[in-house]
């Protein structure tokens, strides 16, 4: 084969690689830019008072303590509702439901649920939890609303994790006279757990960043105290950030970026946690 042919092959290969690398860089740029820009602009606002005090002067001074606490409560509430229901539904869909058109329809519906705009979930929460169930504008109503939205992701990732458990393990268990339920509980779930946890953590961290749904089911801009019961209103980081940015004139820019930085840190730390769990589980095998 001629030298020319080899050269042109090499050139086309290098060009292809260059384009692939470029695409990767373009993908990473906004993410890195956001993180770096937020740190540069927000770091100066971070101090002990900012993290542990109540806001004053409509958020222009003081801290964001109740918003941090509110966001953690929301994540906890979402977890409590979305985890058990989502995992149980995933078990039913993978292990017990017959593989027919209805099951396939349900699976597709659940996957598409993840694409429903979050404000629609907010409206749903307002209609069902706030008004129909009389939970009022509250932490409970907001947790249930966010959990409804998180369920789609929890069910989808749990289903995938359960389906990834090798058939050989199930057969080995059933073939020595373990019941289906015992096989699910002692073989399938422990194996699928890392995948399930990853999905749940990602769903929760996404819920933590939601602004639109909580806006209409119970988030408050300012409360004099922390919520004392699930039926109280609450403050939350994304809503706080939205309000101070859009509705408070003369808001110091560094405070706005400081809130964004804290929110980003909360969400990203959960994503890192999910990655650590996945890596640990892979090493254990």
């Amino acid at each position: 084969m001629g030298t020319e042919a080899r050269l042109s092959r090499e050139v086309s290969q290098r060009t292809a690689f260059a384009f692939l690398a470029l695409a990767t860089v373009i993908t990473l740029t906004p993410v890195l830019f956001i993180i770096i820009y937020t740190i540069i602009n927000g770091a100066s606002a971070l101090n002990w008072e900012f993290l542990t005090h109540f806001p004053s002067q409509a958020g222009k001074a003081g801290g964001i303590f109740p918003a941090i606490v509110g966001t953690f409560y929301l994540m906890l509430g979402t977890l409590i509702f979305a985890l058990p229901i989502g995992v149980l539904a995933a078990i039913y869909l993978t292990e017990y439901a017959k593989d027919n058109w209805l099951t396939r329809l349900i699976n597709t519906a659940i996957m598409n649920l993840a694409g429903v705009p979050s404000i629609v979930f907010g409206l749903f929460g307002l209609g069902v939890f706030v008004l129909t169930f009389h939970f009022g504008l509250s932490l409970l109503a907001a947790s249930l609303t966010l959990a409804s939205q998180a369920l789609a992701m929890v069910v989808t990732t749990s289903r995938e994790a359960i389906l990834a458990v090798p058939k050989e393990y199930r057969e080995g268990s059933l073939a020595i006279g373990a019941t289906k339920w015992q096989t699910v509980g002692h073989i399938v779930l422990p194996q699928a757990l890392p995948g399930i946890i990853t999905g749940v953590v990602l769903a929760i961290s996404r819920a933590a960043g939601e602004t639109a749904p909580i806006l209409i089911v119970g988030a408050a801009f300012f409360l004099p105290g922390l919520p004392q019961s699930p039926f109280d209103q609450f403050m939350a980081l994304p809503y706080h950030l939205y309000t101070v940015s859009a509705h408070v004139p003369g808001m110091p820019r560094s405070t706005m970026w400081g809130i964004a930085l804290v929110l980003l840190a909360v969400v990203l730390s959960f994503d890192v946690l999910a990655a650590v769990i996945r890596i640990k589980a892979r090493q254990r095998k």
């Binding site: 593989d99 050989e168 057969e171 268990s173 059933l174 073939a175 020595i176 373990a178």
Partner: protein, 273 residues
């Protein structure tokens, strides 16, 4: 009841004046519209090894999975005819499938130890059947591992992951896992196909020892293996519509030296398959 006297290939004379341990009469298996097995009639003697041989895809594994109702796991699988364990029809709707699977254990083609410790692998079955005492479990684990000729090799690594064992050890662990629930029958689906010759020989020796106490049915691709270990042999083939049938069934020595059917002879002399 048939009163036949057959000389088994290892020269153990068995008076067949009792129930066959496993029995099928006109058994057929369907996956939806596809018929996988047609009209299988076999009597498998107690405490002996029966080999099922035949070319790929002829339904050997499907036949094996008939005996512990493993085909139930496949949607749309349907069985007609009769399959009996100790004279009890196991496809009777009143039968407890879980109990059948405890009495009829199964070892798979690819060793499939659970991703847990050696101890927990063997203790898994007894635990699920309600044994909780650590002392009792330890006894069962040791007994089962000894019975599976694995104890000497693993007694110092009971707490280690079973996945760290060699392929042959893993397969013997799977046999120990089955023995731990005290089955009566052990089904083996090409148990040596993923193993090297040395590990294969160990499993074959083990099978001969186990045949003292257990009824063993083995599916194998390897005709030398069938000839070496089995007392009875069934030769299967696929018919035109791809349904599996048993062409010939009899004592292994007879099937291999003096086959009655031309197709059996062609297969064992290596003319096809």
């Amino acid at each position: 009841m048939n009163n036949i006297n057959i000389v088994l290939s290892n020269n153990k004379e068995v008076a067949q004046d009792k129930f066959a341990k496993l029995k099928t009469e006109g058994a057929s298996l369907y996956y939806g519209a596809f018929q996988a097995l047609r009209n299988v009639t076999l009597d498998m003697p107690s405490c002996a090894i029966t080999a099922i041989i035949g070319p790929s895809g002829c339904g050997k594994s499907s036949l094996l999975r008939l005996f512990n109702r493993m085909n139930d796991l496949i949607p749309q699988a349907r069985v007609s005819g009769n399959v009996e364990l100790d004279g009890i029809p196991i496809y009777n709707p009143k039968i407890d499938v879980v109990e059948i699977r405890r009495r009829v254990g199964m070892v798979f083609q690819k060793p499939n130890p659970f991703p847990m410790s050696v101890f927990e692998n063997v203790a898994f079955g007894p635990r699920r059947h309600g044994i909780k005492s650590r002392f009792e479990l330890a006894e069962i684990v040791e007994k089962s591992l000894r019975h599976a000729a694995l104890w000497e090799e693993v007694n110092d690594k009971l707490e280690q992951s079973a996945l760290a064992l060699s392929g042959g050890q893993q397969q013997r662990l799977c046999i120990a896992r089955v023995l731990a629930v005290e089955p009566e029958v052990i089904l083996m689906d090409e148990p040596c196909s993923a193993l090297d010759p040395v590990a294969t020989l160990k499993i074959e020796d083990l099978m001969r020892n186990l045949a003292e106490d257990y009824t063993i049915v083995i599916v194998t691709h390897n005709m030398q293996q069938a000839a070496r270990v089995s007392d009875m042999a069934a030769f299967m083939m696929m018919e035109e519509d791809r349904a599996g049938v048993v062409v010939e069934y009899g004592p292994t020595s007879q099937l291999f030296t003096n086959p009655k059917d031309k197709r059996t002879e062609d297969y064992i002399t290596g003319r096809f398959g």
